[in-house]
Amino acid sequence: MKIILVGFGVIGKGVLKVINLKKNHLLEKYGLDLSVVAICDSSGAAINKEGLDLELALKIKEETGKIASYPEFGQNIGIIEVIESVPADIVIEVSPTNIHTGEPAKSYMLKAFETKKHVVSANKGPLALFFKEITGVAKEHGVILRYEASVGGATPIINLAKETLAGNRVKSIKGILNGTTNYILTKMEKEQLDFNTVLKEAQELGIAETNPHQDISGLDTAAKLAILANSIMGREVTINDVVLEGITRITPESLLMANKGGYAIKLIGEVTDKKLEVCPKLVPIDHPLNVKGSLNVAMFNTDLANDIVVVGTGAGDVETASAILSDILNIHQSLKK
């Protein structure tokens, strides 16, 4: 399968590392021969229809910061033009997320569909804002869209619900979908530190972003919740429909109070037929949702299987790339049928 990689940041680099690492395994076990024919970033692209040297691409990006510097095959070219002109089976869309407009990722996805390419995306923005439109266009063009990595990173949330729990009616989903807020609350609880001190430390460690607004305000969780609501619960909502309260007001004293009562405080996203909210909640200490550190967790309440809980890593380059790889494999298997 020929791949166009759109976005060459942390996740994009992780995808190349994983493809490099698993290339032989995928070929031997699944008969899947992956070839990356184009890599795009904001500087341009490297394009070789015979397949690019992934180690070289990673080295060039590391040294120059620009994939356009790739020897012989690097060029200044727009991403839309690459998607349109380069023959490929799958576009892996991991460009930066914009949860206010969904762009430019939305346009990349639509262009990929128009040119009959399947899409694997880790991008929350377009899916949290235009889920119905995007999935509709994919269907219209007869191509597959998969987006496991957009919610929970490596934690298999969407595919678990849609495939493994197929046949069940999912009545509710609740969970911790943002590792940064979980890290902050865990650290505040454990060390009785105030919010700003822990946030600063998390930023220094690279756990929280320089601009942590989307994480701590709950917007990041809300985007993921909107995707789950649409894709698993069959609702038609956007991030703007989510009732939202972040963690900025949580104090060490409130965590202590909660602890004494047998609870932890966690930022929980919850969707049911009627509810769509992200807010801090009291979670009993021995409850499966009380996971620590930067872990993510999701609990499905279903009509047949009752409660199912999945815990995993919510972020990280290789971890997120693992979800992307599983989507690529799934497309490969579907096309073989």
């Binding site: 609740k174 309260e245 007001r249 949580i250 104090t251 004293e253 409130s254 202590l256 109070m257 909660a258 004494k260 009562g261 047998g262 609870y263 405080i265 966690k266 929980i268 919850e270 807010c279 801090p280 909640k281 009291l282 979670v283 009993p284 409850h287 949702l289």
Partner: protein
């Protein structure tokens, strides 16, 4: 038969006190199971009482009498009657008239416990409230939380 799930304070004589309104009403008790090892979050002791079938008026009188004695009637025939839960509150709880907050909540349910901490006069306080409410009034209580939250800038953190 009628199955009552009660929650008693964990102190001597409470079980005897709880059985008094039942025997006074002339109801026949088939069994009493004391579940000391399954204490509730607020330290109460659950007790399951099985009674002979009664008419609804007598049963209602028993329930009212039990509640007057601070016995929580958690379930009647497996149907949840009372819910007791904790809520953590953050904000200027005292400055925004904590008595008014409690009074307003007491019109719908009952605040039975309040722990409050005020780190400094300027900083927001934190409190943990234990509230008991009829299950059918839970949504109304949540709506009141929201109203108070908007009016007084308090953040109510509910159970998940």
């Amino acid at each position: 038969m009628i199955f009552l799930d009660l929650e008693l304070k964990d102190s001597p004589g409470e079980l005897l006190k709880a059985l008094q309104p039942i025997s006074s009403a002339g109801a026949n008790i088939f069994s009493v199971i004391h579940l000391r090892e399954n204490k509730t979050d607020d330290g109460r002791v659950p007790v399951k009482v099985v009674l002979e079938k009664l008419n609804e008026d007598i049963l209602n009188t028993i329930v009212l009498d039990l509640e007057k004695l601070d016995v929580v009637v958690a379930k009647i025939n497996e149907k949840v009657k009372k819910i007791n839960f904790d809520v953590v509150v953050i904000g200027h709880i005292v400055d925004t008239d904590v008595l008014d907050t409690i009074d307003r909540l007491n019109k719908i349910g009952l605040v039975v416990d309040l722990n409050l901490t005020m780190p400094t006069p300027e900083a927001e306080s934190s409190a943990k409230m234990r509230v008991i409410v009829d299950s059918e009034n839970l949504n109304q209580l949540y709506e009141e939380f929201e109203k108070i939250s908007k009016e007084k800038g308090l953040l109510f953190i509910k159970s998940c």
